[in-house]
């Protein structure tokens, strides 16, 4: 088993002691099969137990360990150290306030996510005895890729619009809203319209596509938002041009 020393340059910030964030470099004997998260765990276990970062599953499912690795939003459990140079720079996700070291505050995203009502709003509510809401495999196929989001927030760290426009609802939340709008069992379009197509909604997106580039689950937020723009445009003209507002 090959072991190679690597310099892990980590952004540190302790709100009780530090005025501003600073970098600290650790020398870590990395095994060949290690990911960046393993190197951070080594630092915490062996070198500095105060290093703070989020992680849980270590298998790209939980979405907790998103960080900037060499300036690119990445799941640190998916980033093999052997794919990087001798020196690896690890920072908290861009575009978010830092709470401590590599931990960012998710408050803004959580608030936006809730406003989007990302759950099924049925036309007619079914009781337990009525059985489940059914859906065909073909109907599921229409939205399936957009359902795979793990809320890791890499897309927000990559999005140039979110970086500039704090009101932008953002890739993951808009994608989830699209996913429910397009779900055959859902009838919540009217309730989501103002967040989805209003100020801060899909129209803020300038289709750079960085969200889809960094997404570790191939959720394709850029595609979902583009499809959402088309749906919103159709909705806009239907409501204006059709007698009775299209409803």
């Amino acid at each position: 088993m090959t072991v190679q020393n690597r310099q892990i340059e980590v952004l540190r910030y302790d709100p009780e002691r530090d005025e501003t964030p600073r970098f600290e470099t650790f020398t870590v004997p990395c095994k060949e099969e290690w990911v960046v998260l393993d190197a951070l765990t080594y630092i915490k276990d062996e070198l500095d137990p105060s290093l703070t970062f989020r992680w849980s599953c270590h298998m790209a499912v939980c979405g907790s360990c998103g960080m900037q690795v060499d300036n690119k939003p990445t799941l640190s459990c998916k980033a093999f150290v052997r794919d990087y140079g001798e020196k690896i720079r690890v920072e908290p996700l861009a575009n978010f306030p830092i709470e401590r070291d590599l931990v960012i505050s998710q408050d803004d995203f959580m608030e936006k996510l809730q406003r989007g009502r990302p759950w099924i709003i049925p036309e007619q509510k079914r009781e337990v005895e009525d059985g489940p809401y059914v859906q065909t495999p073909m109907q599921l196929d229409d939205i399936k890729e957009h359902t795979m989001c793990i809320n890791c927030l890499l897309c927000y760290a990559a999005c140039p619009v979110y970086a500039l426009e704090r009101d932008f609802v953002g890739p993951a939340a808009l994608t989830l809203m699209y996913r429910y709008n397009a779900d055959s069992r859902d009838a919540g379009w009217d309730e989501r319209r103002e967040v989805f197509a209003g100020h801060g909604g899909v129209w803020e997106c300038s289709f750079v596509g960085a969200c889809s580039d960094v997404c570790p689950k191939h959720v394709e937020p850029a595609t979902a938002i583009q499809k959402g723009k088309m749906d919103s445009a159709v909705d806009y003209f239907t409501r204006f041009l059709m007698p009775g507002g299209g409803k």
């Binding site: 209003g198 100020h199 300038s206 723009k229």
Partner: protein, 113 residues
């Protein structure tokens, strides 16, 4: 109407989207046709003149100007914003009337043929 209309962006976005498709798929073909490298007979001066003299031909040529120009205007506005130009209204007041002017010029020239 049950709830208020949240945004009028579709008015500029739909021509933008149509123009994007036009610019990506059809404009290169149109430019290639003007070189005379393909279908030289069909794109000779006489043939092109006859095409532009016809009302349907005028309409098609107008579409070839209007949609990509509108696309360019909106893309310039959005790109300016992405690059940090915060004067969005000012940019909008430059690019959209610019696109409108080019569209009007297209109509004027087409009507002279």
């Amino acid at each position: 109407m049950s709830s208020k209309v949240p945004s009028h962006k579709p008015l500029v976005w739909l021509p933008f989207a149509a123009g994007g498709m036009f610019a990506a798929l059809l404009l290169p073909v149109a430019i290639l046709l003007t070189t005379g490298l393909i279908l030289p007979d069909a794109t000779s001066y006489e043939a092109a003149h006859a095409f532009a003299s016809n009302w349907l031909g005028k309409l098609v040529l107008f579409g070839f100007v209007l949609l990509p120009v509108w696309h360019a205007a909106h893309r310039l506005r959005v790109t300016a914003y992405d690059f940090g130009v915060r004067a969005d209204s000012l940019v909008a007041w430059i690019v959209y009337p610019g696109a409108a002017l080019l569209s009007v010029l297209a109509v004027v020239f087409l009507l002279q043929i």
